[in-house]
Symmetry: C2
Subunit: 373 residues, 2 copies
Amino acid sequence: MTAAATRGTLAGGEHTRGVYNFSAGPAVLPEAVIRRVQQDIWDMDGSGIGIMEHSHRGPVIDAMWTRTEAACRKLAGIPDDYAVIYLQGGASTQFSMVPANLLPEGATADYINTGVWSQKAIKEAKLYGSVHEAASSEGSNFDHIPTEIRCSPKPAYLHFTSNNTIFGTEFSAEPACPAGSFLVCDASSDIFSRPIDVKKYGMIYAGAQKNLGPSGVTLVIMRKDLVERCERKLPTMGMYKTHAENDSRYNTPPVFGVYVMGVVFEWILENGGLEGMARRNSEKARAIYDALDAGFYKPHAKADSRSLMNITFNCPSDDLNKAFLKEAQARGFDGLKGHRSVGGIRASVYNAFPVEGCHALAEFMRDFARRNG
Amino acid sequence: MTAAATRGTLAGGEHTRGVYNFSAGPAVLPEAVIRRVQQDIWDMDGSGIGIMEHSHRGPVIDAMWTRTEAACRKLAGIPDDYAVIYLQGGASTQFSMVPANLLPEGATADYINTGVWSQKAIKEAKLYGSVHEAASSEGSNFDHIPTEIRCSPKPAYLHFTSNNTIFGTEFSAEPACPAGSFLVCDASSDIFSRPIDVKKYGMIYAGAQKNLGPSGVTLVIMRKDLVERCERKLPTMGMYKTHAENDSRYNTPPVFGVYVMGVVFEWILENGGLEGMARRNSEKARAIYDALDAGFYKPHAKADSRSLMNITFNCPSDDLNKAFLKEAQARGFDGLKGHRSVGGIRASVYNAFPVEGCHALAEFMRDFARRNG
């Protein structure tokens, strides 16, 4: 029996810790994952050495590395001609690393501007070449996903942010990509929350701290021919090639973060895979949106652009927002304060957020509306 | 009583897990630290939310952030005109970030070449300006720390690697720095292993995974005027200024890594501070070097350049090296295989490595020599 087989099940979404954690990220992790991590930081796979203390080139980490990539490929159906790479620095580092590697001198990259994170990505890209804004919802404070995309004649790539944490909007499907170009997606806040057709993308990147694990590790899924495409003379650590060719172990990688991500991948697989996540996330979001749509509250995102991950709304007044947050906190709903760009309330309900927490919030929302409407 | 005050003691260096972990990094952590982490990943400071799951801008992380920096400043006596910054990407990222920020166009930086890590740092610096090799021990396979340093007329800075993990050499004191310049030190493998006079440095950087915590977080201690000095137009994430001005939270930082580092800082403080570490490390290394000097073994590093962190040696033949490693492994000494550049055996005995493990290895070394000499 392999070490993995003796490790016990991760199935289930139990919630025993009193508090519902609606944090936008870093965010709640499955309790089964945390229990596993508690064991493995003391003794990984019976080695007598914890997961944080093993050489990144030793056999225990080799086995974990193989297991993690296999689980990732299995759950998302990642084809063999795509590399799976683990990096550091989050999406913020990808904002510059993408154009440094993939936007050749003199070329133009197209960006869809759906919020703060898109804007940050655009700002960094301008250090390396021309940026064409193919669509934007800035005019209405990013309350929707634009449907009309006008690309430049020959963009190097088309970049979009699949889910907008701050504004609570989400692409329901990928934007159409011009022939000869490829899609680059910042999927930090909705990766693996639903099935994904990786072949539609040139590259997907995601900071782990919302749907995948702790902050400090970035998952990159990238077509292998793109890994090689960089024309600039960049620092060694700034080239995708360096990491892809060295199995993400050119330097000492963020071993612990990769490991936790791997346990989360296993948790997803044992809990219905991406289809199971999608079903669960849809039920969770519906519970809250139903309470929103009963009146009283003002949702920020337009109905056709609603995120299943981050639900943003205001009460009829700022005083009521404050009262809502205070009462919610007292009832064990943590992290509901909205981002200053939208104000009010934001409920972030990523994969690991328990179903019953969404029903509990919806019930509280109805009760609060009744008492204050 | 504050949360910190209820957290219990970290004093002591108990070793209960059957295996002595001599890994060069990631490396052994104090058991008391791991026990603390096991609790805090489930529930941090009584919040009902684990350390990996808290918003990096929330009150629980605020408190941890303050505690961590205070402990760091206290243990190393870091003056107020130095910034403490947490970054990602390890020393390998600093190899390019240092010259990108601190080596102006047309200027020269001086580097002391004491091994693989110095060479990597030199390679990246050449992307940004001229490099002058002020000293090198390459001619004798990096078996010593050069004493004669010949700097260029006006170097932007003088860079050195305080401890050389692969070759087992260590600076016993800082090299003299030319007037008008400043020292930059890659202290990844001996930081906080002994008292340090921070004022002698312009900047100190260290990947955490040897003396400070898990891989995935880099500690930077930097004179505040240098933070501002960057003249190049760099990506936002590539400027020290971005991180220093935002309390290392411009983007989502590697919260877990910073947290563990903070617990290790507390562990150091509760176990004699840097003076206590130095005494302990000196006793540990002496036990092993005494066994080395009894004959039979061939040490790699010259006596005056010996590292207290990494002890490198060979048996009289390659077959004996293999036999040594095999027997050692069977006795629960893990991670002793030397780096291919030196071969043979390497015992890495950072701060958290227990004293009795060094005495146990020394005893085994004497026994093995007796049986095979």
